[in-house]
Amino acid sequence: VASRCYVYAIMRSATPLTGLANGDDLQLSTVAWRDLAAVISPVDAGTFRPTAERVLQHETVVEAVRQVGSALPVRFGTILPNEGAVAQALEEHHDVLLSDLQRLGDKVEMGLTVLWDPPLEPASTPAASSDTEHAEPLPAVQRAGTRYLLGRLAEYQRENAQRARAATMAQNLDDVLAPHALDRRLSILPAPRLAVRAVYLLDPPGIEAFSEAFERLRTRYPAERYLLSGPWPPYSFVSALGPDVKSTLGRLLRDAEGLLSMPARSARP
């Protein structure tokens, strides 16, 4: 059989995997090792493509499994060669997975994004006047080098100022929201147009109080645009078992920002 095992979620082996929407269509089944089980479906790794539909399907299955019982979300695109390899992974990471399942299995996370128009006030650039202060003008190549370095310095100062403002904003948000959450992760200025991205871990009964606190926050700080999403499975809070993966979204955001802001940047001297 050419198919391999696509893994969606980790749950307790005692949890019955029945009655899931589309469960039969996707041929969902479980692979158990002691008290843990992985929810899998057969996949042809040779033709697997990470499409939007695949991403949505992954999330749909994870959410459906969590309707049945406590479960941890597995990272999208996890494909193992066979059921034996799945069981081996469960065995290898058993203690961490079990601990995470106890800590997070029935928890949810809420995502918060703060969009802003980044403050673009240019830092003072003494490049133009510096040459005139010299009794003997610098050679052209040195003037160009000086201008370049001063430009870099101004950019550095501007980014620092923006980061400081975003950090203050994040602190203001966190002061209001953290009391309603079990844990949180904050990212300051992951991209120029994103002042803050935050994710908060909640007990499901706490969602309403958290949302109310968020509404108060919007009222208190109306200048920025806020996006609250969730509840999601607690993807952001599982223990790191593998290498520290550089944030794909961070790269996406930076790439997109670069493309979007090209005209403005090219207009600068």
């Binding site: 893994v7 980790i10 992985a38 697997f48 493509r49 990470p50 499409t51 939007a52 991403v55 949505l56 992954h58 999330e59 941890l72 979300p73 597995v74 990272r75 999208f76 695109g77 996890t78 193992l80 060669p81 990471h93 997975l97 995502g111 969009l115 994103l194 991205r197 949302s211 968020f214 919007r218 109306p222 200048a223 920025e224 645009r225 806020y226 996006l227 609250l228 999403s229 969730g230 509840p231 999601w232 499975p233 993807y235 952001s236 599982v238 790191a240 078992l241 593998g242 290498p243 993966v245 794909t248 979204l249 790269r251 996406l252 955001l253 790439d255 997109a256 920002e257 493309l259 979007l260």
Partner: protein
Amino acid sequence: VSAGAPLDAKQVTLLEILDRVIDHGVYLSGDITISVADVDLIYLGLRVMLTSVERADELRGGVIPTALQEATSG
């Protein structure tokens, strides 16, 4: 997802999901497919980004799914 299409709730939802499922969640094996599919995911994510970040204002009054509470102020 078309880069030229108006922003809709599905695109924003997809972006939020991408943020989670690609970089987070249980990491079981170094044999993860994402490393192979990275380019495709970047492409997919960029197309979503290009239609969502710049046009976030259009969220106002749009159809918002249950999991995504649009909270744009101003």
